[in-house]
C-alpha cells in the first residue's frame, strides 16, 4: 500500500485529513465569494488580526480562541464601517488592518517572550497535531456557516454583484456584507488554529480562482471550488506522506499546481475555439459536464502524482510511520513535549517546528 494509506491507519493523520477536508469544505464556498468580491486580502487581514488576538492572549493570559475571535470581529466591524462602493477606502483599510495585525502579532509575542516559535506555529500551522477537540469545535461553526451561506445565497449573490440595485430593493446590503465578514472571520479563527495561516489563505484563494476560470454559473462554481479543496487536500497530504514534505506547504503547493493545470486547460480550450462553439448553444448541462470532466481529470492527475510520490520515496514511509506513533503520544499528552534523539528517524517538518507548535497548542488549549 502507499504511504498515504498506511498513514490513514493512524489517528493523527486521520485528524489532519479530516481537518483539511472540513476547512476545505467551508473555505471552498467562501473562496468563490472572496475572489469575486476582491476580498482576498480582507481574508489575509482577518487571519492576521486573528493571530494578533492570540498575541493578546499570550500577554494577558486570556483564553486564546475568544480573544482571537474578538480581534477578528473588531476587524470585521471596521471593514463594515466602510461604505459600499468606496473601493479605494476599503483597500486602504484592509492594508492598514493587515499591517496593524502583523505588527501587533510580532510585538505581542515578543512581549510574551514567545516571539518566533508562536509566529512560526501560526504561519505554518500544527497540521499534524490537530486534536479531535479542534475538529469537534469546528463542526458546529462549519454547519452554521454553510447553512447561512446556502440559505442566503441568492441575497449574497445579489449584493455582491450589484449592491446599488440591491439597495433599491430594500435589501440591507450592509447587513449581508457584515454577515459575510463575520462568518469569514469566525471560520478563519478556528481554521487557522488547526491548519495555520498559510494553508487557510491558500484554501481561500486557489479554489475560487480555479472555479471562476472554469464555471459560468454560481452553483457549479461553488461545487467545483469545494471539490477542488478536497482534491488539493488529499493530493497535498499524499505528496507529503510519500515525499516526506511538510504537509501544510505541500497542500498549498498542490493547490497551486492544480490551479496551474486548470489555467492551462482553460487556455488550451480557448485557443482551440471550444469556447466560441459552446457559446452558441451554451446550456447548464454542458457546464455541468465540463465541470465534472475537469474534476475527474484533476482526480486522475492527483492520483498519478500521489502514486508517483510513493514510488519515488517508499523508504520514507517508515520514517513517517515512526513519527506517527510518536505524534499520537503527543496528542494524548500534549503537555509532555517529547525529547528528540538526533539519531531518531524523524518527519522533516515536525522536527523543525514541533516544540514550538506544542507551545502554541498549550496556549490554545488554555
Amino acid at each position: 500500500m502507499t504511504a498515504f494509506f498506511d498513514h490513514l491507519q493512524y489517528a493523527f493523520f486521520q485528524n489532519t485529513l479530516m481537518a483539511c477536508l472540513l476547512v476545505g469544505l467551508v473555505c471552498g464556498i467562501f473562496s468563490t465569494y472572496v475572489v469575486l468580491r476582491r476580498l482576498v486580502f480582507a481574508g489575509v487581514a482577518l487571519t492576521q488580526l486573528s493571530s494578533a488576538g492570540l498575541g493578546i492572549a499570550a500577554v494577558t493570559g486570556l483564553a486564546a480562541v475568544p480573544t482571537s475571535l474578538a480581534t477578528t470581529i473588531l476587524g470585521v466591524g471596521l471593514l463594515g464601517l466602510v461604505q459600499p462602493g468606496r473601493k479605494n477606502r476599503t483597500d486602504n483599510l484592509i492594508a492598514l488592518l493587515y499591517i496593524g495585525g502583523w505588527a501587533a502579532s510580532v510585538l505581542l509575542f515578543a512581549v510574551a517572550q514567545r516571539g518566533d516559535s508562536e509566529m512560526a506555529a501560526i504561519l505554518y500551522g500544527d497540521i499534524l497535531g490537530v486534536l479531535p477537540g479542534d475538529i469537534w469545535a469546528f463542526i458546529p461553526v462549519a454547519i452554521v456557516v454553510l447553512v447561512l451561506l446556502m440559505a442566503l445565497g441568492k441575497e449574497m449573490l445579489f449584493v455582491s454583484f450589484d449592491p446599488e440595485t440591491a439597495a433599491t430593493y430594500r435589501i440591507p446590503v450592509w447587513l449581508y456584507d457584515i454577515l459575510l465578514f463575520i462568518t469569514l472571520g469566525v471560520t478563519i479563527v478556528f481554521a487557522t488554529k488547526m491548519l495555520g495561516l498559510l494553508l487557510v489563505f491558500a484554501f481561500l484563494v486557489a479554489p475560487g480562482t480555479a472555479a471562476l476560470l472554469v464555471c459560468k454559473r454560481m452553483g457549479p462554481a461553488l461545487t467545483f471550488s469545494v471539490v477542488f479543496t478536497m482534491i488539493m487536500s488529499v493530493l497535498g497530504l499524499w505528496l507529503a506522506a510519500g515525499l516526506d514534505l511538510p504537509p501544510g506547504p505541500a497542500v498549498t503547493a498542490a493547490g497551486l499546481v492544480l490551479l496551474g493545470i486548470v489555467w492551462i486547460a482553460q487556455m488550451v480550450r480557448d485557443n482551440v475555439g471550444l469556447e466560441a462553439e459552446e457559446s452558441v448553444g451554451w446550456r447548464f448541462d454542458g457546464e455541468r459536464a465540463r465541470v465534472v470532466a475537469l474534476i475527474v481529470a484533476l482526480v486522475i492527475v492527483s492520483g498519478v502524482a500521489g502514486a508517483l510520490s510513493t514510488h519515488v520515496a517508499p523508504e520514507r514511509t517508515e520514517d513517517l510511520l515512526h513519527h506517527g506513533h510518536h505524534h499520537e503520544a503527543v496528542e494524548e499528552y500534549p503537555q509532555e513535549a517529547p525529547h528528540h534523539d538526533a539519531e531518531e528517524p524523524h518527519y522533516h517538518h515536525a522536527d523543525e517546528v514541533e516544540e514550538d507548535l506544542l507551545d502554541l497548542d498549550d496556549l490554545l488549549i488554555d
Partner: protein, 250 residues
Amino acid sequence: MEQCRETVIECEGATLGYGRLKVLEEVDICLSLGDYVGIVGPNGAGKTTLLKALTGILSPLRGRIEVRKHPREDRPLIFGYVAQSNTLDDSYPVSALDVVLMGRVSSVGPFRSFGPADVDAAFRALERVQLDHRAEWPYPELSRGQQQRVLLARALAGEPDILCLDEPTNFLDPNAQVDFMNTVDDMRDETGMTVLIVTHLLQSVADHAQQVWLVQAGRIRVLSDPTIIQCELADVLEGRNCRFEEAASS
C-alpha cells in the same frame, strides 16, 4: 411645489449630497403614480444623486423625503432600478436568467428559494425585452445592448410601481436606444407604473415625458407644460448638442 395627485414620493426643502458636499439644495418635488418624468441636465449636476435619494439609497442632508405606501393597495412601493450595465463586474458566473431572478429576491425573502412562479416571471420579463432565447447564456458574454435589456428585464420581473432608469441607453447604438425606450413606454402603458429616467436623450424625453426635471447649478426646475418642455429642450438642443457631447466625452 407642484401639485400631485396620488403622491407616492414627496421631497420638501431637501438638501442632497455626500458628507459636507451639497449637490442639490431646496429640492421641492413630488411624484405620483403613473408619472413619466425625465431628469436632464449636464454631467455632474446631481441627476443620479437625485435618483438615489428618491429610491432611498441616499438620505437627505437636510429637509424631508417621504416615500409613501401604495395609495390603492396599502403596501410598500416596489422599485425597479436600471443602472448602466458597464458599472457591473463581468467576472461573475451568472446567466441572463440568474440576473433577472435577482429582481425577485426581495419578494421571495431570505431563507427561501425561487419557485416556479418566480422563474415564470423572469421568463416573461425576458420575453418583454426579446431575450428569452438567451436566458441560459452567461451574462458577461452578452453584448452591451443585450446586457442592458437584461437589466431592464430584471427591473420588470419585480413588477415595480416605480421604474428608475439611470442613463440606461448609454453605450447603446441609436436603434437599440429607440428599442429600449419603446419597451419602457409599452410597459408603462400596460401597467401604469411610474417612470423616472435620467437621460441625455433630450428628444426622447420631449416626446414621452409628462414632466421634465431640469437639474442645473444645484437646483431643480420642474417643467410640466408640454409646450414649455419642447421649447426649453429645443433651446438646449440648439445651444449645444448634449447627447453627442456626452457620447464624445464618454
